[in-house]
């Protein structure tokens, strides 16, 4: 697989405070890379560094196998982006906004219309942007990012402020980009559900540190099942388990077992009953992605 983006020890300090700490990002061609983290984790800062909007304090960036600092223009010519809130000149029409980018990026009229078509703004293209709804502005932002159908599309929280319908629409659009146009997408979000639905690769960042990076399958493999058992007399049960050499943890009134086979469960059940300990519950649990995320970020806070 070709690497589209790699960063090496990318770091950014603002007034001596570390906001992005030695991040090594790897985005492969054809990926939809979900860059996940709570607000203020350093997502936007990282993405802005990839576009040259923020200058790294330390580290290197290689995009399309080229060093960013030495090939800024070439890299930017093949990169589309929507950073923070969408940018636009509100005293101009949607089409005029597109025309500005068209001139800066040397794009054909056909592509301008195609980009407007994809986000379904053709009918409103001659309206002043200040009269657009938030959703339309967001869609214009995406059309502007897509204008030259770049190799790499960087989207920072693209569904912010959209209604559920708009969110679904944008998601479907993003999902279709790699196959339809060969675009690699790097998308940041603080919504786990969003990543779950569209990403093929995931990077999880918190407090400026990249905590996890890998494919969606690798992340999901982390949500292994575990067994919890509740008995009438947990103290006695624990003694028995220790003498039998089982590894377990206690969580409230449950005994938690990882890697317990069916035969072991049956054996334990028999053992407890043999010692007159009533077994009240034997349950299988599966960690949700959310649990994994909270485990990684070590925070029980809302995303």
């Amino acid at each position: 697989m070709n690497t589209i983006v790699s960063t090496y020890n990318l770091s950014k300090y603002f007034n001596g405070i570390c906001r992005v700490n030695e991040v090594n990002l790897t985005v492969y061609e054809g990926d939809i890379y979900g860059f996940l983290g709570p607000n203020g984790a350093g997502k936007s800062t990282t993405l802005k560094m990839l576009l040259g909007l923020i200058k790294p304090t330390k580290g290197n960036m290689v995009i399309f196998s080229k060093n960013f600092n030495k090939n800024r223009q070439l890299i930017l010519s093949q990169t589309g982006s929507l950073i923070e809130s969408p940018s636009y000149y509100e005293h101009l029409t949607g089409l005029e906004n597109m025309r500005i980018l068209q001139r800066l990026r040397n794009v054909s009229n056909k592509k301008v219309q195609e980009a407007l078509h994809i986000v379904r703004l053709e009918k409103q293209q001659n309206k002043l942007v200040k009269h657009y709804s938030l959703g339309m502005k967001q869609r214009l932002g995406i059309a502007m990012a897509l204008i030259n159908f770049p190799k790499l599309l960087i989207l920072d929280e693209p569904t912010n402020g959209l209604d559920p319908n708009g969110i679904r629409e944008i998601r479907e659009l993003i999902k279709s980009l790699p196959q339809r146009y060969g675009i690699t997408v790097l998308i940041s979000t603080h919504l786990l559900s969003e990543i779950e639905q569209i990403a093929t690769s995931v990077g999880i960042i918190n407090d400026g540190n990249l905590l996890f990076q890998g494919s969606m399958e690798q992340l999901k493999a982390k949500n292994k099942a575990y067994i919890s058992i509740k008995t009438q007399d947990n103290n006695l049960a624990k003694k028995i388990l220790l003498t039998e050499g089982y590894k377990f943890k206690q969580n409230n009134d449950r005994l938690i077992f990882e890697d317990l086979t069916d035969s072991h469960i049956a054996y334990l059940n028999k053992l407890f009953i043999g010692q007159s300990i009533d077994v009240i519950r034997i349950e299988e649990h599966r960690k949700s992605l959310e649990d994994i995320f909270l485990e990684l970020t070590g925070k029980e806070r809302s995303l």
Binding site: K48, L51, G52, L53, I54, K55, Q73, L74, L76, S77, T79, S81, I83, E84, S85, P86, S87, Y88, Y89, E90, H91, L92, E96, R99, I100, L101, R103, L104, R105, N106, L128, M144
Partner: protein, 241 residues
Amino acid sequence: MFKKSISAEWLKLRNSRIWLVLITLPVISILLGSINYYFNQGVLQNEWYSLWTQVSLFYGEFFLPILIAICCAYICRLEHMNKNWNIVMTSPVPIRSVFTTKLIIIAILIFIIQIFFLILYFIVGKILGLSSQIPSETIGWILRGWFASLSISAIQLRLSIQIKSFAAPIGISLCCVFIGLGMYIMEFGMFFPYSLLSIGMGVLSQEGLTIVENIQFFVMNILFTILFSSFAIYRLKTADI
């Protein structure tokens, strides 16, 4: 490619109210100047030259530098709003041309205004019944005034790129105008961009510049323009957005 960047920049001025300001300020200067001239014809007997002393005093000394500051602040305000610097700075154009296209756009605007002012001057002169030929020096004043505008534009652009407020850089330009007046009186005018404008436009003295002074005028302006343009480009290259 550079031409396209300029046309992209030009497109941003569409539907904008800046044109209203651009037209109003020269008109006000001409009105104030010609009213002054009209009521003081007793002492102002040098026809076109006397009229020039009056209209150019308001225009070249105050309204033009402020107009330049307004243009620069406006052009940068378009980018400060809605974080449009993100669009500009992720475009595949050299950072230096992000600045130079803006400077060129302002130079074009000021040039249009200078010509507009010249036409107003001519019309008002005719209305006031000036019978002699319009002096040929006026072309020189207008062109040199435009040339001196470049260094002021570079300074004002540098300020407005950094300062998000619309009014602050204009306030600074007003201060510089007064400092410039002082520098001119102390005969250090050649070393201060805002006084160079007075010198170039023949505001306070209509005596032509000597060849040496002319060379000095152009060299100083070129130096100031290059110096402040480099400051601005350096800022764009190094500052976080």
